[in-house]
Symmetry: C2
Subunit: 434 residues, 2 copies
């Protein structure tokens, strides 16, 4: 069969890794797919930059949209990133020509997934995006193909390597959030502006895509409740450890009676869960379905891992594997009922900084009881390092609740604050259980 001619837009770390992998694995990929997979055209801004790959004989485009429309490519690979143009325009241009697209662009899919799926379906093009979620972990294929017989109840994952790297170091080496962030930036694990990662937005993009695949719903990124890791303290991580939990930034999508609940926040997970053991920049996704429960662990980012997913998708394209973008026709994807965060039910860890005077614990316990919240434990303690007069003025109260609702917790905390017994912002961490 004739070669699969690839047009590739974006020659950063991942683009170069894809080109090298296609060269290195040419013989094997030919055996697996029956076709050569050849990059014949690229689009990138700087033509003179040395990317360590041989691009002689490859057509150059300044404009990725022009590349996407090149009638002499069989598949368009988009590795530019960004939720809007030029990535969006280029992907749409390729799909409108009926040309298969492979992309690693989570932001684009989270924002425009349903629209892109509609365009792909109309023209009969396929859209592949294994690299967009959890890098080298084959979670898209698993949800889209392998679990077709299952009703998924919950998807949860460590989807951002930067956050997991920081939480691991904070917990293991007792380093503060700020010191850890500075270190992560120095080592290249965090961006100069880390907002996108540490405030949970990157995780939210990936979760939006997983939710659609898992529940057969339209991508609904706006419905996601997002909270990052900025406010976590060493004290919280240590308290979690004492209680038998690890703290992870999780993206969680859950089927509830009122609809699909999507949330990104620091989460206390039992230490014995496979996902609790995942450390450093590694990612993990757990799927709980009616027939199987799976956990997939692997690299979430990096040139080679992302290239692995892109090349896997290209091999599918070469073998003629298509299928619906989100597993089923767009018309079949349900508009998800949103289960708002107020309706969330679960256990809570609540850390209060309180005025150290008689009756404080009683006040807190009463406010909890007023909202019908049962306490698994309530521990009052003096914060470490605090001594003398200050210790007399302030204490920590750590509460662990049995399953209750977000609304009840928020009301109880507001009441406690109104009582004037707390003297700093409360810390709330949700607990995830089986």
């Amino acid at each position: 069969m004739s070669d699969l001619k690839v047009g590739l837009a974006g020659l950063g770390t991942v683009g170069a890794a894809v080109i090298r992998m296609l060269e290195r694995r040419a013989g094997d990929l030919f055996a697996r797919t029956g076709r050569g997979i050849k990059v014949v055209a690229v689009a990138a801004r700087d033509r003179t930059k040395d990317r360590g790959v041989d691009l002689s004989g490859v057509r150059w485009y300044e404009d990725p949209v022009e590349l996407a429309r090149d009638p002499d490519i069989d598949v368009f690979v988009e590795l530019m990133g960004g939720s809007d143009d030029p990535a969006k325009a280029a992907v749409i241009a390729a799909l409108e020509c009926g040309r298969p697209v492979v992309t690693a662009n989570k932001a684009l899919l989270a924002k425009w997934g349903a629209d892109l799926a509609r365009i792909a379906e109309a023209s009969g093009a396929s859209l592949h995006f294994e690299a967009a979620v959890a890098g080298g972990i084959p979670i898209v294929k698993t949800l889209r193909e392998s679990l077709a017989g299952n009703v998924v109840e919950r998807v949860s994952g460590i989807l951002n390597g930067t956050c997991n790297y920081m939480l691991t170091r904070m917990a293991d080496e007792k380093i503060s959030f700020q010191d850890c962030l500075a270190e992560a930036q120095r080592l290249g694990y965090a961006e100069a502006d880390p907002t996108f990662d540490i405030d949970g937005f990157d995780t939210a993009h990936k979760l939006a895509i997983l939710t659609s695949l898992a529940f057969g719903t339209q991508v609904d990124a706006d419905a996601i409740y997002v909270e990052g890791i900025r406010q976590l303290t060493l004290e919280d991580l240590e308290a979690a450890d004492d209680l038998g939990y690890k703290v992870k930034l999780l993206g969680v999508a859950l089927r509830t009676e009122t609809g699909i609940e999507q949330r990104v926040h620091p989460t206390m997970v039992p230490k014995h869960w496979p996902i609790a053991q995942v450390s450093g920049v590694t990612n993990a996704v757990a799927v709980d379905a009616d027939a199987v429960s799976l956990t997939l662990v692997g690299p979430g980012a990096g040139g080679d891992a992302t290239a692995s997913a892109v090349v896997g998708d290209l091999a599918d394209v070469a073998r003629g594997v298509a299928g619906f973008v989100f597993g089923m026709p767009v018309a079949t994807l349900m508009k998800p009922e949103r289960a708002p965060m107020q309706r969330h039910e679960g256990g809570y860890y609540i850390r209060l900084s309180v005025v150290n005077k008689p009756g404080t614990a009683a006040t807190i316990a009463r406010r909890m009881a007023d909202e019908g919240i049962s306490l698994e434990s309530i521990v009052q303690r003096r914060p470490e390092g605090q001594q003398g007069e200050a210790a007399q003025g302030t204490a920590r109260v750590i509460l662990i609740t049995y399953a209750t609702s977000e609304e009840a917790v928020r009301r109880a905390i507001a009441a406690i604050e109104a009582d004037g017994v707390v003297n700093a912002l409360p810390q709330v961490i949700r607990i995830e259980k089986d």
Copy 2:
């Protein structure tokens, strides 16, 4: 599009679970594949048995080979088990007609994989077997499709739930092997004749299939070194725990300089590895490749988990996904160079029961040194519970070696035995590291 008409041979737990799942998920599967997936014919011995599924209007065959040849089925599902006829004859019959086959039969594939692949290729039929290895874990698809861009270096896995259940309980609850086996049999986790599971043969079958997929080699089950868990004692599990390891029955396939090494044996794995945390009947597979390292954890057996894999394969068949049986054409699959167990290199745990007299440790250390084996540690201790005279006669010596060869270890132990300082069979457990 017209329905995908399924002929299903074998109506045990898995067969019934497949029929129920196809009914329960009919609407969703239609959306995903564009076709109804309907069981139209079955083969099973006992027509009168109540299997809790509605089989009215379904054609019955006594002979699965006849069912496989029925021109009015589109796909043949083999859930009978067994490495030979009738399963083998039926699968061949279907493939020879050019009919796709879905099977959960690991023994069949381990023994006849290359032959079946050849027949499938000749007739253009596809052969799907996600359920044959690690039940509900999509490792076949991951190796065959997702990791196409990777050079795999090692595949290792907990592939037998019975063994992992027993090792977990032995370690956690300090129950002896014999008591644990009796308990597992009582609970239905172990067969009345447990040989196939606990002596490692089931793991070996699955490993043979994984090796072929991972390394692009012909299935070579005869090359596997197999050792089960029968000889493990509580003392070994406790010593491993003290040293920072868990003991798991692993199947390991490794690319070495001399060829592909395939082995099944109790293995000490570092506690921080994801695979070390996998407890109970759960399975796990770790793949180390040049671009990614993945660990997949999930249910390895059971009706629903196995049905999930079978139905995932059926959805692929319905969508027209084919592909080579072991990822590439049979002619391309290499005849693997076997790296025999004598050539294995790694660390070793060696427990010796020795005569408690001066010079014993020196004798042992000298024999190790004679073979060029470096010791990470050597600990002599009195076995627990032993007191008085007996304690004076016997002691335990536990050695941990740095990486060395199997040959050297065997020679050293033979020499120590010849020296007359040991008074029981030595215990040897291989250590797996990064």
